[in-house]
């Protein structure tokens, strides 16, 4: 049999596929990335608001995001492109004993992993974030090493670096099937041709289930949609990402921050979730989210909104990603189900995929992958979605 043309084919040039291509090409793999859209990051990636944190509640996401933060925070020094990274920190606020208890319980776990995160009481929190509404404020967590950056700039920078290292990108091409012989991946069919390869990585984001079905695998990724928005730019007055996890009758958590370029960027989790791929904005979003934001940071009432949009979260039943080798098909790798955190997970997942394909996993990697196994029972529930 002839040698395959590519070592690895990645399906999807999004938040995960693009940095994965970069790390694989750096490690010397002949890598091809195929995406249905016209350029990099045009799927879920461009809908993300840019939040990046390592302060999760499970070892897998914590480890992956620590690696991501290393990449985002050192990128400009190393390669020159400005990703608009700021280490503004993350702040989860508590205005009721209920949220105080949830956050304090998580804090204990987060401390175990040596994360830089503290509980700030009301006074200390108001000092760190003076714009917060003091009325009823109990306190909150503050993690100064977390931050934010621009998803579009990041995707472009990873793309450029991947190409420099020899990765090939095919845009405007849709993967229609995965070629296997005797249970082993041989290549990929698209609407325009066939490419041979040794391994294939499904990084198709919200469309991952369709792609997996072409090799007869059922991967439990269901897209649901979230809306986001951006204001006009104003002088810097808000450092961290603010997250309010209170539930109301029509929404769950919402989060927002002031970007490096001055705009407030925000989004909300609707309740019940809006399942499906419809991306048309709703009239409910802006009144709903702005009311809650103004309540949290009263001076936002003076700010004008420029634009809103609706994007997709690739959701899994338990809120955790699905990453690992498929036991059923040799050479097939899952890197899907990033839920609301694919942008921040991207570089960390990409870096891990190199060692997974090399068969060179560390003990830490094993621990990470244990939590994200494709064949897990999907029974738990992520606490900080």
């Amino acid at each position: 049999m002839t040698e395959p043309v590519y070592d690895v084919i990645i399906i999807g040039a999004g938040s995960v596929g693009t940095p994965a291509a970069m790390f694989l090409a750096e490690a010397g793999f002949k890598t091809l990335v195929i995406d249905q859209f016209a350029s990099v990051g045009q799927g879920a990636n461009k809908a993300a608001i840019g939040g990046i944190r390592a302060t999760h509640s499970d070892p897998a996401k914590i480890r992956l995001c620590l690696k991501s933060i290393e990449v985002f925070s050192t990128w400009q020094q190393q390669y020159g492109d400005n990703l608009e990274w700021i280490a503004g920190g993350y702040c989860f606020v508590a205005y009721r004993p209920r949220e105080e208890k949830i956050l304090k319980n998580l804090l204990a776990v987060q401390k175990e992993y040596q994360l830089n995160i503290e509980w700030l009481n009301r006074e200390a929190l108001l000092e760190a974030v003076p714009a917060l509404n003091p009325e009823g404020l109990i306190g909150g967590t503050f993690s100064p090493d977390d931050g934010s950056a621009s998803p579009m700039r990041s995707a472009l920078a990873f793309y450029r670096r991947a190409r420099e290292k020899g990765a090939v990108f095919q845009f405007g091409e849709k993967v229609t099937g995965i070629l296997t012989v005797r249970g082993r991946v041989q290549g990929v069919h698209t609407n325009q041709g066939t490419y041979s390869c040794g391994s294939v990585i499904n990084a198709a984001g919200p469309w991952a289930r369709e792609v997996a079905e072409t090799v007869g695998l059922d991967v439990l990724v269901v897209p649901d949609s979230h809306e986001g928005g951006v204001s006009e730019p104003v002088a810097p007055f808000l450092r961290p990402m603010l997250v309010d996890i209170r539930q109301t009758s029509d929404s769950a958590n919402y989060y927002f921050y002031q970007h490096a370029t001055g705009q407030i960027i925000f989004c909300i989790t609707p309740a019940p979730p809006m399942v499906g791929t419809d991306r048309r904005e709703t009239s409910a979003f802006l009144p709903q989210v702005s009311r809650r934001m103004v309540n949290l940071v009263p001076r936002l009432c003076n700010l004008r909104v420029r634009r809103t949009w609706r994007g997709l979260y690739p959701m899994t039943p338990d809120g955790f990603p699905i990453v690992g080798l498929a036991p059923e098909v040799e050479g097939y790798v899952h890197a899907v189900g990033m839920c609301g955190q694919g942008y921040m997970l991207g570089p960390g997942v990409g870096d891990l995929l190199v060692r997974l394909i090399q068969g060179n996993l560390t003990a830490n990697d094993d621990e990470v992958l244990r939590g994200l196994r494709p064949d897990r029972p999907f029974r738990g529930q992520e606490k900080l979605k």
Binding site: R280, E281, S283, L286, P287, S290, C301, V305, T308
Partner: protein
């Protein structure tokens, strides 16, 4: 949630005419405008309009505006002022911002009559206070009765540049010059002669190089250009002015149509990107109509006729008119529109409009 049958966005000549026509046919109509007074551009037009008698040439824009407002009230149009439409959603729900709160308005049909926005030019100093659109200067003098400055440079010799120059003179300012990049004056001869008689030089093949000053405009540098719009070295002159007015064209204000997913075409004769529409002024999204400058930059007279057409069509789809009566009324309006687009200045727009309608039908 509040409801209305037909929402008309923008209470300029197009929106007022659309609202009146739809309400006359029996529809429940809500007319929305961001300003505290309806009328759009009309109340700034203190000059006598050009065009045919039938279209009230010789009448001042202000008077046409007053008549339309009275008629709108008489036929029961609900008018909501100081209200910005910030969003148009796929279920035909509108997001309204009024003062310090927001509301939803559920509609069955929408007529977009949002008008146009002024184009700007970017040159060194263009963000200095004192550089403004000619339309903004016109609003200052004719609505707010405030002079934008004492010594003014007008950039652009189309009708807007010429008319606003004359009105600035009437308001007591000095217009130092009108400059025009093209080798010819774009506006009507009557308007050009009027400003020339008042002593304002019109310099063709000239552009603005920069605006200078500390806190605000103190000087402007202008220069001659060749037929490729390149500045000819050595022709620079400095004019002592405190205001630079830009009258360099208008663009359809079509964000809401973009948001609604309407299909567009780029038509330079009509001011740039224009939503496609059919003979009834319906866009490519069923139930969303457009009229006036948002459907291509023209004049108040064509804006009103397009508004009538859209109003009749929207009321017709909601069964307020029998198809036969609707068709008769609409074809009367279409005849008047054709008449307005006749002749030297109208022909280009007539051709462009036909293309828009053909493209919409193919879409």
């Amino acid at each position: 949630m509040q409801k209305t049958e037909i929402a008309v966005i923008g209470a300029g000549p197009a929106g007022l005419a659309a609202a009146i026509e739809a309400a006359r046919a029996g529809a429940q109509v809500t007319l929305i405008d961001e300003n505290e007074r309806p009328g759009g551009q009309l109340f700034k037009q203190i000059h006598k309009f050009f065009g045919s008698k039938e279209h009230r040439a010789g009448t001042r824009g202000v008077e046409i505006g007053v008549d339309l407002l009275e008629e709108a009230k008489r036929v029961g149009v609900i008018t909501r002022l100081n209200t910005v439409v910030y969003g148009l959603y796929h279920d035909k729900c509108l997001g309204l911002a009024c003062g310090d709160h927001s509301e939803d308005l559920q509609t069955q049909a929408i007529i977009l009559a949002t008008g146009a926005s002024e184009n700007v030019l970017a040159f060194p100093g263009w963000t200095l206070p004192g550089v403004m659109g000619a339309g903004a200067a016109q609003t200052l003098i004719n609505i707010h009765r405030v002079l934008p400055g004492r010594r003014i440079l007008m950039v652009g010799a189309g009708n807007v540049g010429l008319i606003v120059t004359y009105q600035l003179l009437q308001a007591g300012a000095e217009v130092v010059a009108i400059i025009e990049g093209l080798p010819v004056i774009g506006g009507y001869g009557v308007h050009a002669s009027k400003v020339r008689r008042a002593g304002v030089p019109i310099l063709t093949s000239h552009t603005i190089v920069s605006a200078e000053g500390g806190e605000s405009v103190e000087r402007a540098v202008i220069a001659q250009v060749d037929n490729r719009w390149q500045v000819l070295c050595g022709t620079e002159q400095t004019l002592e002015v405190d205001t630079v007015c830009l009258a360099v064209g208008l663009s359809p204000l079509a964000e809401l149509a973009w948001m609604a997913g309407c299909r567009f075409s780029h038509v330079p004769t009509l001011g740039g990107w224009v939503p496609l529409h059919d003979q009834d002024m319906q866009t490519s999204v069923p139930g969303i109509y457009i009229a006036g400058d948002v459907a291509g930059i023209e004049e108040a007279s064509t804006a009103m006729e397009e508004g009538r057409l859209a109003g009749l069509a929207a009321a017709g789809t909601l069964c307020h008119l029998s198809p036969e009566v609707g068709e008769i009324k609409k074809s009367e309006v279409r005849d008047r529109l054709a008449a307005l687009r006749w002749g030297g200045f109208g022909e280009g727009r007539a051709v462009a409009k036909r293309q828009i309608i053909e493209a919409r039908c193919e879409a």
